[in-house]
């Protein structure tokens, strides 16, 4: 009765260590269980001792999970790179949609705000282009980054560089969204509330949501980088 327990216990422990990626955890549970049971079956004698030996030969669950964590982190980084470009594109589309709507509805800017509006529009334009180019640069950077087998100090520095690039793109995007907010309020100021405002307001909500999502992605990425580095160091020392 003890024999199946040992393998199941080990597989559960490994699956628990892999809980940062639920689908990977499920997959490894199945693969590793098959591996260990085959290793036991291939040995001259079965029983708990054979199971213990198979588990010992397989290696420390935490050390194996740490190696998976690097791959998972790399996958997440690539997703953040793609998100950076997509969010900037979404903000651009929302902004353009709002301008088209103003044209269709013949909604002019408030005259006394025109001078200030030009300055804010300039900030908006340059911020958006900056976020677009830096976002593309960060995506290209992470897409071409080779993922090492172990979490090295060099890889950590490169990931931190990527997070910095994404943060710059996000800061520029936030500046653009704030400028858009100011310009939208100039356009709508002084006029009474009507249903026509729904599109500009909705487009602003989309812009704010995009910027917020990007901030959340980058924050998560920075935390994961730090945690994986810490975890790899611990499991490296325990080996």
């Amino acid at each position: 009765m003890e024999a199946p327990g040992l393998i199941s216990e080990y597989v559960e422990r490994l699956a628990g260590e892999l809980d940062f990626d639920p689908s990977l955890s499920r997959r490894m549970r199945r693969e590793v269980e098959d591996h260990l049971r085959e290793a036991v079956a291939a040995g001259p004698v079965g029983g708990p001792e054979a199971e213990r030996r198979a588990i010992e030969n397989f290696g420390d669950a935490r050390a194996i999970a740490a190696q998976f964590a690097i791959g998972s982190l790399a996958k997440r980084a690539r997703r953040v790179g793609v998100a950076a470009v997509l969010m900037v594109a979404a903000v651009f589309i929302a902004m353009k949609a709002r301008l088209v709507w103003y044209g269709v509805m013949e909604c002019p800017a408030v005259p006394r705000m025109e001078a200030l509006g030009e300055i804010v529009a300039l900030i908006d334009r340059y911020s958006l282009w900056s976020s677009f180019f830096v976002g593309i640069a960060s995506w290209l950077y992470i897409d071409r980054l080779r993922v090492p087998a172990v979490f090295t100090a060099e890889y950590r520095v490169r990931l931190q560089r990527f997070v910095f690039l994404c943060s710059v793109a996000t800061a520029a995007l936030i500046a653009s969204v704030i400028s858009d907010g100011v310009l939208t309020s100039f356009r709508l100021a002084g006029t009474g509330w009507s249903v026509e405002f729904l599109i500009p307001v909705l487009s602003m909500v989309i812009e704010i949501a995009c910027a917020g999502m990007l901030v959340s992605h980058i924050r998560g990425m920075a935390q994961r980088t730090a945690a994986t580095g810490h975890w790899s160091a611990i499991s490296g020392r325990s080996r």
Binding site: L24, R30, E31, D34, A61, A149
Partner: protein
């Protein structure tokens, strides 16, 4: 040193044909004459990474035991990558071999 070449070792083991994780590690032990005795679990992050990179293709099959197992096979890209890595390794190995063979003493300047 072994860790830096694990990708190449796994690709080479799979060049014989599709295999599951346990068979891959057994093949590595067999072909290396037991010299590469890694913790067996080390192979799985490598298999996963190579599959993500498109160098391996994995699929679930049902073994004779009735258990589900994942079998990996080299993709065309994986085969090409193995060829490239083998060429690099052979050049490196030849160069190191030449260094060890050429062990004559330095000529002292007069």
């Amino acid at each position: 040193m072994l860790k830096g070449h694990l990708d190449m070792i796994v690709l080479a083991a799979l060049s014989a044909g599709p295999a599951h994780g346990y068979a891959v590690i057994e093949e590595i032990k067999r072909r290396s004459g037991g010299a590469f005795d890694l913790p067996e679990g080390t192979i799985y992050p490598v298999l996963h990474r190579l599959e993500q990179a498109g160098l391996l293709a994995g699929r679930w099959v049902t073994a004779d035991s009735g258990r589900r197992r994942r079998v990996y096979a080299l993709t065309r890209r994986g085969d090409r990558a193995l060829g490239e890595q083998r060429a690099v390794w052979e050049r490196f190995s030849d160069a190191v071999g030449s260094l060890f063979r050429g062990n004559r003493p330095w000529k002292r300047p007069a």
